[in-house]
């Protein structure tokens, strides 16, 4: 028995020596190596190579820990060992990271180095800032439009969506696709919806609804706009059959990754439409059948309102504790440069940070989709889109999680739309009260925002009194 163990010890020792011997140690060659925490999209290599050409003494390597969740980022930043450049995928994540003291305040450097909010779309400006200070700069910017498969529309003999269409038109189109048998005999679903949350967010903004009042003290998810949006969502699903049911949605949602089945459904020609940003065309080269058959149109609008939706950005921030702050700032400057924007345009990775390179559809025409008319709606959408609003008095990540939970309850007919929104708003308001009660820094913020001293019953002015909430 002892011999067996000794043999294994010898094997292990040999393997270890082999592993250590073949390690490439970082050379002391004066090159600064930055770690960029983003996902492992092959396009990043093109972007980092270009940066290296512009700044030969800096090398950026991709650290793909962000496979959908930010655990690695949090753990490493909590102990001061985090990456230098951090990709922040949405506004809620930015707020969380700023509160955790991870992101560097870019405001003193941004204007000087040319990546302040005036260098990108006006619509996204608030999405880059927390408390009036800038914390990130876009790698790409997106707003959803409706991408449709002309071949499927032709198959059912339905006319293409018109540019200024309303939800009534959308319902009618959906009805015709569902009820007219296709000439080829294949069944199609109307919308390959892969994220119930994004869909609802677009509806909410389409109705003109908000998450919070501008002072952040009251949750507005039980306003009539929010309830109307939820009712429309439910009706689109169950009354009109325009969007897939919970079952079909859930099987297409992108848990644990980015390439969701919903995209594949649309890409393989089994769905007529998809509500998505321009980044959809990254997938396109894998599906040569679709070439030339795609059209895009803006999101349907609510009667009496223009077409609006959410805009957000995958934006890069800098780790406060990075030892290479100067070089990391140069990378952000690169993001604002026309060279980088050109890479994004060619890649199809949504809209480039620099609006000057995306003035009309012709600017965005690339090898993947040469038709300028396809890209134009995405540019138009950016004019009217705006980011979701956040409140400093509550954890916005938590709010999004609770919202998703309630959307799913409505989808599964566990709660009616109005009840769900009332319950959700009640919980969020409750959370705001608890937070204010317990955190002196928020109380000071309250005084700043309202000009009044904080008292225990402050909420009577801002929030509805609590009755017995509907069952959870």
């Amino acid at each position: 028995m002892k011999r067996v163990f000794l043999v294994f010890l010898a094997i292990f020792a040999a393997l270890y020596v082999g592993a250590e011997a073949t390690l490439k140690r970082p050379k002391n060659d004066g090159i600064v190596r930055l770690r960029w925490a983003t996902d492992a999209n092959p396009a990043r290599k093109v972007q980092t190579d270009l940066f290296h050409k512009l700044h030969p003494n800096i090398e950026v390597t991709v650290d793909p820990g962000l496979g959908g969740d930010q655990t690695k980022l949090i753990v490493q930043c909590a102990t001061g060992t985090g990456p230098d450049i951090v990709d922040v995928y949405d506004e809620q994540q930015m707020v969380a990271l700023v509160e955790a003291g991870v992101l560097l305040d870019l405001t003193p450097y941004a204007r000087r180095m040319g990546f302040d909010p005036s260098k990108t779309y006006p619509a996204i400006k608030n999405g880059l800032m927390v408390g009036g200070r800038q914390y990130r700069y876009p790698c790409n910017v997106w707003a959803n439009c409706v991408v449709y498969n002309k071949r499927v529309f032709d198959d059912h003999g339905v006319p293409y969506p018109k540019p200024n269409w309303t939800y009534r038109d959308f319902i009618e189109t959906a009805r015709r696709i569902r009820n007219t048998p296709s000439k080829s005999g294949q069944k199609h679903i109307v919308v390959a919806n892969f994220s119930n949350q994004w869909f609802y967010d677009d509806l909410l903004v389409g109705y003109g609804g908000r998450f919070f009042t501008p002072d952040g003290l009251t949750c507005l998810l039980d306003s009539k706009e929010a309830i109307a949006a939820m009712k429309l969502y439910h009706d689109l699903m169950y009354v009109h059959g325009a969007i897939p049911t919970a079952a079909e949605t859930a099987t297409m949602s992108g848990q644990g990754g980015w390439g969701s089945s919903g995209l594949t459904w649309f890409s393989t020609g089994r769905a007529a439409m998809i509500f998505i940003g321009r980044w959809y065309i990254i997938q396109l080269p894998s599906y040569p059948d679709l070439k030339g058959w795609l059209g895009a149109v803006r999101l349907p609008r609510i009667d009496g309102r223009p077409s609006t939706g959410v805009t957000d950005t995958r934006a890069a921030g800098i780790n406060v504790k990075s030892p290479y702050r100067k070089e990391a700032l140069l990378f952000l400057q690169y993001l604002a440069s026309p060279q980088y924007s050109k890479v994004i345009v060619d890649d199809g990775d949504s809209l480039p940070p620099n609006p000057a390179l995306a003035r009309t559809g012709k600017d965005l025409a690339n090898k993947i989709v040469p038709d300028p008319a396809f890209h134009q709606p995405f540019i138009d959408a950016m004019r009217d889109a705006h980011p979701l609003d956040v409140s400093p008095f509550v954890d916005d990540g938590l709010v999004m999680r609770w919202l998703k939970e309630h959307i799913e309850k409505v989808e599964n007919n566990v709660m009616r739309p109005e009840d769900a929104m009332h319950a959700l708003a009640a919980q969020i308001n409750q959370l705001i009260r608890v937070n204010l009660e317990r955190r002196p820094d928020l109380q000071r913020k309250y005084e700043q925002v309202t000009g009044r001293p904080y008292t225990q019953d402050w909420w009577r002015r801002y929030q509805k009194p609590q009755g017995a909430p509907p069952p959870l």
Binding site: A96, A246, A247, Q255, G256, E408, P469, L472
Partner: protein, 482 residues
């Protein structure tokens, strides 16, 4: 350490022997202290503070506030203290009753038979009430479980029908159930739980453990089936059998393909292929086959199962539709991971599939090898049937293994459901597949609320501890002490 033991070999006094004993423990203990105990102690401290990763929030010692936030109730309007305390007392009575009942089953208490009978009646009553008032699956399942435990207690060989300490738990449970049932509406019209999600996730965690007995029993059955080689004949005969199976497999596949059912044909072909492998290498093939799910555990497997459970295109529903159609039933198959009611059963089925041929089977195989051949042969000579041999020879010899498996299953089960929630369902439609460990993860890494997350962990620990203590006491009775 080597030197210490050489020394002790020369001097056979007690003191140096003690040193040797510590010497054996030392490497493991050191690692344990640094990598396990210290973080655990730190997390214990965390549970009593408001530590978040936000520098704006100053670190404060909170005492029990996290726990009160987690487990407490909040008045909606004004306080109704009497009602609140009566309700909490009923809940406490119920829990004490349950723990007491479980303890009674393992401890030599008098009155266990009577208590068991009472519990069985109570369980049936609760289940019936749950069904008739439509109070939800949880109540019905709880009732059934209580009933089952009651029946098991009634059949204890040394239980008595007199009234002894063994009856008290059943009476406590009855009082608790009655109190909860009567006060339910009044209480929840005036109060709300401070963290209603905790209770939902606790229910989810407990529900997901329902598959464990099946998984363990299945592993035992498989281990028994695969312990010895199947007598299929000598090598030459086996080779012929294998060849026949291969040919049959090819025929089935070709036929299936020709008839336009390539999938079914291929499945048939694989069936014959497995049979061929079984003929050729016997038990090794099956053991490897059943262990395959454990090999590939991880993201790939979850992606796989997610695709299998796809309500529209997944093979499971395709198969079910075919079966229902063949039987003439007009039921649509469930929507599995996409539906609130079926998401948890879907995960249970997946868990049983993965676990049945996995680690537990391996452990049972190893344990079975320790069962002395002579005992079994002696029993066979005495004319004992297969079942009797199993019950009186094999099962007691497997006791340490079963003990280990049950404890690890309890501990693992209560901490489980994390990977599934993270990779497959993101906590499931409307939070129906979120378990406590996923909740802890969300609190810690999404909301950055580490103090609260630690509090949840320690509550979970308390539950696991009680469950393990009961398990331990049960195992002690059967363990062969050194």
């Amino acid at each position: 350490m080597q030197n210490k033991n050489k020394h002790s070999r020369l001097v056979t006094k007690a003191r140096p022997r003690q040193m040797a004993h510590i010497g054996f423990l030392l490497p493991n203990l050191l690692g344990f202290l640094v990598f396990t105990l210290m973080p655990v102690l730190l997390s214990f401290w965390m549970a009593f503070t408001n530590w978040t990763l936000k520098p704006a929030v100053h670190l404060e010692f909170l005492g029990l506030r996290n726990f009160s936030d987690l487990l407490g109730v909040r008045a909606l309007d004004r306080e109704y203290s009497a009602l609140k305390w009566a309700y909490l007392a009923s809940a406490a009575a119920l829990w004490l009753g349950i723990v007491g009942a479980l303890w009674a089953v393992v401890a030599p208490w008098r009155g266990v038979r009577l208590g068991g009978a009472l519990m069985a009646l109570l369980g049936v009553a609760v289940a019936a009430l749950g069904v008739s008032t439509g109070a939800g699956q949880g109540v019905v399942i709880a009732g059934l479980l209580i009933g089952v435990c009651g029946v098991a207690a009634t059949y204890r060989e040394d239980g008595g029908w007199e009234v002894g300490p063994g009856t008290a738990p059943a009476l406590l449970m009855a009082v608790g159930c009655a109190g909860l049932g009567l006060l339910h509406h009044a209480m929840w019209a005036r109060y709300e739980p401070k963290d209603p999600r905790f209770w939902q996730y606790l229910y989810n965690t407990a529900y997901l453990m329902l598959g464990l007995p099946f998984s363990i029993a299945g592993s035992l059955a498989l281990a028994l089936l695969l312990n010895d080689d199947i007598p299929l004949g000598r090598a030459r005969l086996r080779a012929v059998e294998a060849l026949i199976c291969v040919v049959l497999g090819l025929i089935t596949t070709a036929v299936g393909w020709g008839l336009g059912y390539p999938n079914i044909g291929l499945m048939g072909g694989i069936l014959w292929g497995v049979a061929a492998l079984g003929c050729a290498v016997n038990v090794i093939a099956f053991r490897t086959l059943f262990y395959l799910p454990t090999f590939t555990a991880g993201v790939a497997l979850m992606i796989l199962w997610k695709a299998l459970y796809n309500p529209e295109t997944g093979p499971i529903n395709a198969g079910l539709t075919a079966i229902f159609a063949a039987l003439g039933l007009h039921i649509t198959p469930p929507e599995w991971l996409a539906s609130v009611e079926w998401a948890k059963p879907a995960l249970i089925i997946m868990g049983v599939w993965i676990g049945i041929g996995g680690t537990n089977m391996l452990l049972y195989l190893a344990g079975l090898s320790n069962v002395p051949r002579e005992l079994l042969d002696a029993a066979e000579v005495d004319g004992a049937s297969g079942w009797k041999r199993f019950r009186h020879v094999t099962w007691p010899q497997l006791a340490p293994t079963t003990f280990f498996i049950t404890i690890m299953a309890t501990i693992g089960g209560m901490q489980g459901g994390f990977e599934q929630a993270r990779v497959m369902t993101a906590g499931g439609p409307a939070g129906s597949t979120t378990t406590l460990s996923y909740y802890i993860y969300n609190k810690a890494f999404q909301d950055l609320d580490l103090g609260y997350a630690a509090a949840i962990s320690w509550v979970l620990f308390a539950i696991i501890f009680v469950a393990t203590a009961i398990n331990w006491k049960f195992g002690r009775e059967l363990e062969v002490e050194g």
